[in-house]
Structure formats: C-alpha cells, structure tokens
Amino acid sequence: MSSVPLFALVGAGLFCIGLYALIVYAHLLRKILAINVMGSGVFLVLATLADRTVNAAPDPVPHAMIITGIVVAVATTAFALVLMLKVAEKTGRAELPDERTG
C-alpha cells in the first residue's frame, strides 16, 4: 500500500502541532488536549509503519502497544483533568504561573 507511510507523516505532524500547543497555550485544558494530540501522533507513527509489508497481515505487536498507550492516555487524562480542577479551585485559574519558562 503506497499510502501507508502517509499516516506516519501525519503522525509526525500531529506530534509537532501538539507540542507547539503544549508550549504556547497557557490554559491547562488546552495543554491536556495537546498532550492527547501528541499521543495520537506517536501512535500513528508506531502503527503505520507496522503495515509496510505488502500481502502480509499487519504486525500485531504495535497494535497491542497502541491499545496499551491509549488506555494509559485516558487514565492520565482523567487524572490531569481533576488535577486541573483542583488547581483552578485553589488558585482561581486553570493555568500555571510563569508560563514562559515552560
């Protein structure tokens, strides 16, 4: 399949877009979204390249790894969101101080 590496390239793009947002935006919710986008990018790179050999079943190992990664991502996202709410509750804003250092 000639199109296969394409999604790997998209994955790399997603990683960089997510990283940019993580660095530039101050709001924690946006940062959490950014981390998720980055994660998707990494998973795409991991999976896409598993499928390069023509006429053979795709390599299941990366798929299993991605499922692992997706579960880890949802777990950390859930925790991060609650942490964000607690930060907002204590400080009045869902942001981190001195953003520029990050």
Partner: protein, 482 residues
C-alpha cells in the same frame, strides 16, 4: 524452605509483592500502615536474596511468560540493576518507616497504596530490558510520583504537580516516539536484540535523540530542570525524598542502559554538549540553592546540581567515570533522601522551613540537623562518604583523560555544595530567642533521617565491594584506567 528459596524468582517478587501490597492497602485502608511495613520487609528480603544469587551465580535474564525476546519481554538482572534496586530498597524502607509517623490519618490511607505503587514501578523499571515495557513503567512511575506530590494539597503543591504531570507526559511521549522509530528501524524493543542490530544510522540517532530528550526532561537536566524545584519543594517530605532520591534516577538509569547496551559509538561533540549542560546545571543549581530562602527549595536545587554531575560522565567516557556516576547516584539517593526527611522533621515540628528562622528549631531537633549535616558531608563529597568516592573516581577520570576542565567543574560544585550546606548548618549553632510553639517529632522519623545520612557516609568505606557488584554481568564502556 530452602528449595523454595532457590526456585523463587526474587526479581519478580520485587515487582509483584509491592504491587500486591499496594492493592491490599487500597482494599483495606485501615490496615494500610501494617501492610506497607510488611511489604517493605518482604521487598528487603527479596533484594537480599537476589543479591546473594547474583553475587554467586552472576547476571541473568528472566523471560516473562517464558517467551523470550524478541517476542516476549525480558527482565535483566545484572550488577547495574541490582545496585539501583538495592538503593531503592534502602531508601524505600527508610521512607516507609518515616511515613508511618509523618502522615495524619486521613492522608495516610491515601499515601500507602500510592507509595507502594511508586516503589513497585521503580523496581519494574530497574529490571526491564524492554524499551516499550520501560515506557509503561515510566508512565506508572511518573503518575505515582505526581499523585504523591499532589498529596500535600496546597496551591503550590497542586500547581507543581500539574506542571510535573505535563512534563512527565511530554517526556514519556517523546521517549515513546523514539521507541517507535527504533522498533521500525530495527524490528525489536528488546535491548539485547537491539544491541546486535543497531547501526549508526540517522534513524537510530534521531530515535536516540528523541528518547534522550524525553528522559532528560524527566531527569531534570539543565535546561529542562524548571519543573523540579517547585515539585520537590512542595511535596510532602517523604515524597520529596523519593522524588529526589529515586525517581529522577530512574530516567537517568534508562539513559545509562541505552547508552551502554545499544548506542553504537561515542560521538564527542554530542557528549561534550552533554557535559556543558551538566556543568551549567552544576553552576545554576549551586547558585539557586545559595539564594533559596526555604530549606526544601535549597535541597531541590541541590538535586539539580547533582544531576549535572551525572551528565559529566558522558564526555569523560571512561569506565571509571561511569563507576563514579553510579556511585554518585547511590550516595545521592541516600544523602538527598536523608536531607529531605530531616527537612520534613523541621517542617513537622515548626510548621515552616524558612532558613533564616532555623535557629529556633535547631535546638529542638539536634538529631535532624545532625542528619542534614552528615548527609551534607556526602553531598559535598568529603571523605569518607559515598559522595567522596564518586567525586574521586570522576575527578580521576577527568585528569587521566586530560579533560581537566571537568575536574574543575566537579570541584566547583563541591564548593557550592559546601556553601549551601553550611548556610543551613550554621544556624544550628546560633543562639535562638525563645523557640516557637512546636510539635514533637516521633523518634522514628528522626532516626530514619539520621540512619540514611550515616549510611551515605559509611557507603564510602565499602566501595570495593559495591564497585565490584555494579559491574556484574556488564563491564562499563570506555577505556579502562591504564
């Protein structure tokens, strides 16, 4: 019984037992303290048995699920992992004993399962030989560390925890991207298999750079250190001890493993760059520690400085330097934990840790101040402490390889360390006005801090044994000392 002891895989016990302990603590919060202490002892027995086995029979690999690499995951038990596991066990035991007195009832029931999770994940990490499994272990470690940091509950702690979480996730994702490229470049995630396949191609170096950046973030190498001081300074004291003493070492350990096992050759531009970052960390951490107004912040900056030392081993590139770095990891684990525990006692007693008001507290807690000072001996690298052995080995490596400027950095670091340690210790002797109202500190908490500190100093006296142990199964790379 003996037959059982011979067949039991103690390495797996180091992972499974604390996990079971964590779950049991979660299921029966009322018994959590006893369960945790029991788990700590069980882990200690396991590490002792494992040490005996490895010392007698050498390093070995453990194929999880009996599949073996590259299909399955393998655990690797050699001197390097053994040394890390032992340090974790010793510091872990002290933290467990300390925490039994430190936390109030309501926080206590939340603390124990999280702490045992952290301990288990560190053990899992030090045992793994599979770079994807290491990713999962890293996530587990990071998440446990963040939840523990947030346990303090203050605005500072929550903000620091949020920042720490984001950095930690960013670090693991970057690392994972590197893993993805390695897998696709070389078709395996097992280090031993990769060692045979990896070539010095652009793909490999890109993958390694990604993994490196991810791990350096988690290790808080300058300039990725920004998240560390607030997190380590605002976490509960026993947590700070674990974070500074153990958690940041975990990512550095992976870095060391990768460097030893699969990185094909040394590139001096790259390693010199790492050395420069390390030197910058030494200077920056030292200056900030001197400026710090709060004790725990000072200790946190000291950690940044000590991390800087570790990265000097890359440009030194001789086996002695790596031995020194590993020795530093060990002695720093003990000494820094002792410092944080001592600071925790002060905080517990006085309700604050402002350095300029320490004189009022010092009189009430001479043992904790002594623990801080004794740990300081190792942090400063004065003989006969473990820190001294580390510094000796690294300075020797620097002079022997003709790179005297790294020796200057190391010595400069010691001077910084002396300055900030004595900035604190000086207050132990000044005459204080009438002391504040204060809370009595349980004796176990004071003893835990002092015991770790004394261990850090005495560690220097068993150096031949430790040095021989750390290279079981794998000699460190780089030229031997001529």
């Amino acid at each position: 019984m003996e037959a059982l002891a011979a067949t039991v895989s103690w390495d797996a016990c180091l992972i499974v037992l604390p996990l079971l302990g964590a779950i049991a603590c979660f299921a029966w919060p009322n018994a959590a303290k006893k369960l945790a202490l029991g788990t700590a002892l069980a882990v200690l027995v396991s590490i002792a048995s494992l040490t005996i086995r490895v010392t007698a029979a050498g390093a070995f690999r453990h194929a999880v699920g009996a599949w073996g690499a590259p299909l399955g995951i393998e655990l690797l038990v050699d001197g390097l992992s053994l040394v890390m596991l032992s340090a974790t066990a010793i510091v872990g035991l002290a933290i467990t004993i300390y925490s039994a007195g430190y936390f109030k009832a309501d926080v206590s029931s939340r603390f124990w399962p999280l702490w045992l999770f952290l301990w288990a994940s560190l053990n899992a990490l030090f045992l793994s030989s599979d770079i994807f499994n290491l990713y999962v272990a890293l996530e587990l470690t990071g998440l446990a560390a963040v939840t523990l940091t947030a346990l303090a509950g203050s605005a500072d702690a929550l903000t620091a925890a949020a920042r720490y979480l984001l950095v930690s996730l960013l670090g693991s994702l970057t690392y994972l991207l590197g893993v993805a490229l390695v897998y696709h470049g070389f078709g395996s995630v097992d280090m031993a298999v990769l060692a045979g396949r990896v070539e010095s191609t652009p793909v490999f170096w890109a993958a390694f750079s990604l993994m490196f950046v991810g791990l350096a973030l988690k290790t808080a190498l300058f300039p990725f250190h920004f998240w560390l001081p607030p997190a380590h300074a605002s976490a509960p004291a026993p947590v700070s001890a674990a974070l500074s003493g153990l958690v940041i070492k975990a990512s550095f350990y992976i870095l060391m493993r990768l460097w030893f096992e699969i990185v094909p050759a040394d590139y001096s531009t790259f390693t010199n760059f790492l050395g420069v970052l390390g030197a910058a960390a030494v200077v920056w951490g030292g200056l900030q520690a001197l400026r710090a107004k709060r004790l725990k912040l000072l200790i946190a900056y000291s950690t940044i400085m000590q991390v800087g030392y570790l990265f000097l081993a890359f440009p030194l590139a001789v086996a002695a330097a790596w031995r020194g770095a590993l020795y530093l990891i060990l002695s720093h684990a003990l000494a820094k934990s002792a410092m944080f525990l001592a600071a925790g006692n002060i905080l517990y007693c006085a309700g604050h840790d402002r350095i300029e008001s320490l004189d009022r507290i010092a009189q009430r807690l001479p043992m904790s101040l002594a623990a801080f000072a004794v740990a300081g001996v190792s942090i400063m690298g004065l003989p006969p402490s473990g820190g001294f052995i580390a510094k000796w080995l690294m300075v020797e490596a620097a002079l022997k390889s003709g790179q005297w400027w790294w020796a200057v950095t190391l010595v400069l670091g010691s001077l910084f360390a002396a300055a900030y340690v004595f900035k604190v210790v000086g207050y132990a002797f000044t005459q204080a006005e009438a002391p504040h109202t204060s809370i009595d500190v349980p004796a176990a908490m004071e003893w835990a801090a002092l015991a770790l500190a004394v261990a850090a100093v005495l560690m220097g006296l068993i150096a031949p044994w430790i040095l021989a142990s750390m290279e079981i199964g794998r000699a460190f790379p780089g030229a031997a000392i001529p």
